[in-house]
């Protein structure tokens, strides 16, 4: 049964209080023993930040009310740890503002007092960007969860940043619309966080990036200035389009408080097929053919290799292999969404049968009802979750103690799987290398699973992975962002001049550097 990790942890050294913990659970006894990765984050707490004092607490309490100023240890410890349980900060204060004005006052105060802050949404980020590194004050947007308005003709939704993605979807479904993004974390992630990380997700291939779907934002800057850019217009070429700066800035340029987003109409018919391919070349060709023949109907195109499939089937309760008789090298999930059920189904069937006759597909299954569709999706969505479970050693059933090194890369489609194949001989028996991801977007999630964290293994992986990606002009972070994990890696994907300009913009918008410090950009650029 699940046992929460004990609060005892050894500090790596007296100066860093950002601990990377690894909790292993033994298969039979549920005993946990902790081991630390020696890949410690070597950042010192910036001396320019003040420490909280009782006057600050008093001010916050008078402004927000006692209930919204949290110093309770249990709630703080949950907010101090990221979803992967990889990073832990030591914040002493969690604030829950209820409206933009309160956010503005908090930031104004923190800016004048040089108190560092971390904006926090659903805390489902994967690069340690949503939790404190040291004692930064956590500003949680969770209380700002109001839906403000929906333009029912155009599908323009205005809501506060703390709205949970799944709740927005349920609300929109009643009105005949859907959110243009869909992630595995939808039950917990908030739209403000999605915007701040420019989240991608499963439907990126159909609805595109948030840069295209966000019509407006309301953002609070470091000094408390409220920037009202909450437009609702598709076309507005008046001046520099500043909202794009904040989309994907991971909370380092301002706190998003309201969002205006264009929501596509909810189409009635969804068809889902799980396919088996013999090699990666077939997957690529299948993608090309699908784009040509299914065209605008495609709403998702995902792939996973056989190791990923085996892992899911081994660890997921109730998971069934749709092709029990044989094992294939690659699996592809194709979803089409349209307005005419029988026409769309016939189109997908015809395409798949042709592909099978052409040798692109070795086998496939089409979901016949919503339940079958969700079991196909579970196989793909649970991949990351299951790996996290392996990684943190938690599982309801059996447990495989393991550590996972995760990489989220954007690469040209032809080269996407090459990195997986190059990694395998480098690591040999010591690790299992698994690849899966949004093939339709050229986004690979590379996962390397080992028995435990080991610097020798890490040395084989990094910087090779980043250099390889850089050589092929890929991105070292396709959709997860830089956060804390890759704060010093940006040069692999961006030129020095570009990073220099980013640092200038950061200094302009946040001169005291209080917004989500130590993350996104390398410390050296910001001194």
């Amino acid at each position: 049964m699940f046992k929460p990790p004990s609060k005892l942890y050894r500090k790596l050294n007296s100066q860093t209080s950002c601990d990377i913990m690894q909790v292993h659970y033994s298969r039979t006894y549920g005993i946990h023993q902790r081991s630390f990765t020696s890949a410690a984050i070597n950042i010192q707490r910036s001396p320019s930040f003040s420490k909280l004092n009782s006057d600050d607490i008093g001010y916050f309490k008078s402004m927000l009310g006692d209930k919204n100023v949290v110093q309770d240890e249990d709630r703080l410890s949950a907010a101090n740890v990221d979803w992967m349980r990889k990073y832990k900060g030591s914040s002493q204060l969690l604030l829950l503002p209820r409206n933009t004005e309160e956010v503005s006052k908090i930031l104004h105060h923190c800016n004048s007092r040089h108190l560092a802050i971390v904006p926090q949404g659903g805390n489902t980020g994967l690069v340690g960007g949503s939790v404190p590194v040291y004692d930064e004050v956590i500003i949680s947007l969770a209380s700002m969860d109001q839906i403000i308005s929906l333009d029912k003709v155009n599908g323009i939704l205005i809501c506060e940043a703390g709205c949970i993605l799944e709740n927005l979807n349920s609300f929109l479904a009643n009105e005949g619309f859907i959110m243009p993004l869909d992630l595995g974390a939808k039950g917990s992630c908030q739209i403000g966080g999605n915007v701040s990380t420019n989240a991608g997700g499963l439907h990126f291939i159909r609805y595109g990036s948030l840069h295209g779907n966000i019509l407006g934002l309301e953002v609070v800057l470091a000094d408390g200035t409220v920037l009202d850019m909450l437009g609702t217009l598709r076309k507005d070429n008046t001046g520099y389009d500043l909202k794009h700066l904040f989309i994907g800035s991971e909370g380092s340029l301002g706190i998003v408080t309201k969002v205006s987003i264009l929501t596509p109409p909810k189409l009635l018919s969804t068809n889902l097929a799980l396919l088996a391919c013999k090699d990666f070349l077939s997957c690529q060709k299948l993608l090309l053919e699908a784009k040509r023949e299914l065209g605008e109907a495609i709403s998702a195109f995902e792939f996973m290799d056989s190791d990923a499939m085996d892992m899911v089937l081994a660890h997921m309760d109730g998971a069934r292999n749709p092709f029990p008789s044989s094992s294939y090298n690659f699996y592809v999930l194709i979803e089409t969404t349209g307005s005419d059920e029988s026409y769309d189904k016939a189109k997908l069937e015809a395409f798949l049968l042709r592909s099978m006759e052409g040798g692109l597909i070795s086998d496939g299954a089409i979901a016949q009802d919503i339940n079958q569709a969700s079991s196909f999706w579970q196989i793909r969505e649970k991949l990351m979750f299951r790996k996290a479970m392996c990684w943190q050693g938690m599982s309801e059933a059996t447990v495989k103690a393991g550590a996972v090194y995760k990489y989220d890369l954007s690469l040209p489609v032809e080269k996407l799987y090459d990195i997986v194949e190059e990694m395998r001989p480098r690591l040999g028996e010591k690790a299992k290398v698994v690849g899966y991801g949004h093939l339709g977007d050229g986004n690979l999630h590379l996962n390397i699973i080992t028995k435990q964290y080991d610097n020798n293994i890490l040395a084989q992986i990094e910087p090779f992975v980043y250099e390889w990606t850089s050589t092929h002009r890929g991105s070292i972070s396709a959709e997860h962002g830089l956060g804390l994990m890759k704060a010093d890696k940006i040069h692999y994907s961006k030129s020095p001049e570009t990073v220099q300009l980013m640092a200038s913009i950061k200094k302009l918008l946040d001169p005291s550097g209080i917004l989500n410090p130590y993350k996104v950009l390398p410390q050296s650029m910001l001194q």
Partner: protein, 258 residues
């Protein structure tokens, strides 16, 4: 031996069902329809029996309007050999009429086994299988959670899920079996089977051709939603709790007060 499987097209199990504003029924337009989950299990069982060599042919049959052909195509894609579509028009057909139609079809097809789902998830009647068995004077094994066929002795051993536990019956074939949830896990429709299904036959028949008159003895008067769940109340003290228990809880049975 031939196996006849009756399947029904219903609102998909995962859809959030809504009542029509005029309360005459449930919203079915623009809503995803699929094969009844128990019918899928029935079909899966028939296919497994055929694969074990105890039967030669699996025939799927459905009663309903034109769109029901989709459900038959799913049945063929799962592996049924052929299908029969009894087009009875748009009005919903009640279990007794379905049972009469199935009896007529059984007399034409002469199967050794008629397998149905135990009930449909739209009306939850749980009547058709029992009624057909009565009309045909065939033995019935309902709520089957396990079926074992003895080809030599022409006997089906059926384990049934009943309130008290499990009951095992031996039925002489031909017989009627209705399937329960734990009987099996239906297979996915795979591409090779979908391909084969394209050349399989769906025969269209009308109730008149089967000499069955469809008349409805029942009329749906009204369909309403169940009462909305009231929000709980947070009580501030033990005294308040006692007061509420004394005055607002009508029966103490639930709380086991002695």
């Amino acid at each position: 031996m031939k196996i006849l499987v009756a399947v029904k097209r219903v609102i998909d199990y995962a859809v959030k069902v809504r009542v029509k504003p005029n309360k005459s029924g449930v919203e079915t337009s623009n809503v995803k329809m699929s094969m009844n989950p128990f019918c899928e299990i029935a079909l899966e069982e028939a296919l497994r029996i055929r694969e074990s060599g105890a039967a030669k042919e699996v025939v799927a049959v459905t009663v309903g309007p034109a769109q029901c052909a989709d459900t038959l195509r799913t049945a063929l894609a799962m592996g049924a050999d052929r299908a029969v579509h009894v087009d009875a028009g748009a009005a919903p057909v009640l279990p007794l009429s379905v049972a009469k139609i199935l009896r007529a079809l059984v007399q034409v097809e002469q199967p050794g086994l008629l397998i149905l789902g135990k009930q449909a998830i739209d009306d939850d009647c749980n009547q058709t299988g029992q009624m057909v068995a009565g009309l045909l004077k065939w033995p019935q094994g309902t709520f089957a959670s396990k079926v074992v066929l003895d080809k030599e002795k022409q006997v089906a051993t059926v384990e049934r899920e009943v309130d008290g536990g499990l009951e095992t019956l031996c039925l002489d074939l031909p017989a009627v079996i209705t399937t329960d949830l734990r009987l099996n896990q239906p297979r996915y429709a795979t591409l090779p089977n979908i391909m084969k299904a394209k050349s399989k036959v769906i025969k269209k028949v009308t109730p008149e051709e089967l000499n069955v008159e469809i008349k409805s003895d029942l009329e749906v008067v009204q369909v309403t939603e169940p009462p909305k769940r009231k929000a709980g109340v947070i009580i501030s003290s033990v005294d308040e709790l006692i007061d509420k228990l004394k005055n607002e809880v009508v029966s103490c049975n639930i709380l086991n007060c002695k």
